[in-house]
Assembly symmetry: C2
Homo-oligomer: 291 residues x 2
């Protein structure tokens, strides 16, 4: 086992980012909307808690992409085909997570190939990296031919997929189909690294939203009439007003828009009107903390 740990780490070049190269959405177009397809029986039967979709939601928000929908479906070909086709039709950026391992329940690559009427084909560069990676693992080196075939299923991609290597130290690439749909593994740490690595390859929007959170201990019904008026008033400016009660701990009001100065200005008004205070924007999942 010792040789594997003593050898220098394997690295492979990333796929070059086209400087002004082809945009998969078409010249000048940017990603506006997104959807996530989480594939896995283990999420639906409660064995595993999905964390990838929340990570993706934050990722989209920070980049100015509007995440419109998250769906969790079973390891089922018909379900994957239907959802993949519909999402690619409706949104600019679609990701799938899960179902790309070597076992019988890993059917994502094959199902996506079917969804877009493509045969499956081994990707030579992925095979090369996979094999180099395996050469460092004694527990993989002596596999039987059947085990090798199972392993190489992880390099069997839809024929027309773009194969994008986004990390020098990760042999798994991101496959992109139709310029939109990107296939990711389900393992959270790997998902997160690959998603972060994919960013330079995406035609991102030019602007990013700013979020302002105000907490009040008033009951939600007491601030509702003001918020309704505010919501109507801010519609023309495309500022979104949200209201999120915490059980017996008051309400967090959220303002989201692109013009930070304007959001801060409205924020001051909201603080006065709801007798609230500005709270931490990075810890918005639980009880709010003052900034």
């Amino acid at each position: 086992m010792s040789t594997s740990t003593e050898a220098p780490p394997l690295t492979f070049p990333k796929t070059p980012v086209p400087p002004n190269g082809p945009n998969p959405l078409g010249e000048g177009k940017k990603i506006k909307t997104a959807a996530a397809l989480v594939i896995g029986d283990e999420i639906l039967n409660g064995k595993t808690k999905d964390t990838n979709s929340n990570f993706f939601a934050k990722y989209c928000f920070e980049l100015g992409i509007e995440l419109k929908r998250i769906e969790v479906i079973a390891d089922d070909e018909d379900e994957i085909v239907e959802a993949a086709r519909r999402m690619v039709k409706n949104y600019d950026f679609v990701i799938t997570t899960g179902g790309i391992g070597p076992t019988h329940d890993d059917i994502t690559y094959a199902s996506i190939a079917k969804a877009f009427n493509q045969p499956l084909k081994y990707d030579e560069e992925t095979l090369k990296r996979l094999t180099a990676h395996a050469s460092r693992r004694p527990d993989i080196q002596n596999q039987t031919p059947e085990q090798k075939v199972a392993r190489e299923r992880m390099a069997l991609f839809p024929e027309n997929a773009e194969v994008i290597f986004v990390g020098e130290d990760i042999w798994v690439p991101v496959c992109r189909l139709e310029g939109k749909l990107c296939i990711f593994p389900g393992i959270p740490s790997l998902f997160q690294r690959l998603l972060a690595g994919l960013t330079p390859y995406l035609p991102l929007p030019d602007t990013r939203p700013f979020r302002y959170l105000i907490h009040t201990s008033l009951p939600e019904s007491s601030i509702a009439p003001y918020l309704t008026t505010l919501h109507e008033r801010l519609k023309p400016e495309k500022i979104r007003v949200g209201s999120y009660p915490l059980l017996r701990l008051g309400v967090t009001v959220s303002l989201i828009g692109e013009d930070e100065a304007r959001i801060r200005e409205i924020g001051e008004e909201v603080v006065r009107e709801v007798q609230g205070k500005v709270v931490d924007q990075t810890d918005a999942t639980g009880t709010p903390k003052p900034v």
Copy 2:
């Protein structure tokens, strides 16, 4: 403020459970499949981490209901209408969570009413409980007429909904439409209590699945050929074989079926074949612990 804490707690009777009463799915029918519709911009923009769907997934599994799909959508009437209609058509038990508060972005009751072509109507019993509840809260008692209207939106339900009071100390009921679709609040603690309270009102399946988890430190590709054979062999017995890798920490194999003795028997074989050990079935989200 002191009178509110000194008064005895308010309680109201639960809706009686019909002993052999009408089954909303029809005589003798049981719930087999389920779907969850999570409604809320705050999930999609990453502000809030949805925990309700995982709670629901575990709930379904424990009761022998197959959860087929989870969807997270925006506070958007068209999206709610489309998803609610489709889910009611496709599954036996559908829940929604979120969007039932007093503010402008709480549109679930109205959207569901629209989905099933019903007007909205104030529910008298809910109004009574809501008002009694409010009488204990000095911060609500002196509300303006506009604030009262906002509050009473929480009792404005689709006209043909069954209004089921599932907890003596919670004024919020569960509204059920089409015998299938149950509307829940998004606040996790409230969601969990109401879901638990709803159980006696559901036509539950007669059998529950048994899950057995085996952990191995072998690479997933090494056990793949055996698992594929096992999966094919167990298909006629309706035993499902799953395989879930943990990054650099081996693989958890899952066996799910109704016959516990048979699952344990197969489990012993799997332990031998994958050089594994049985792991804790209640802590299946992270690194497995031996039983």
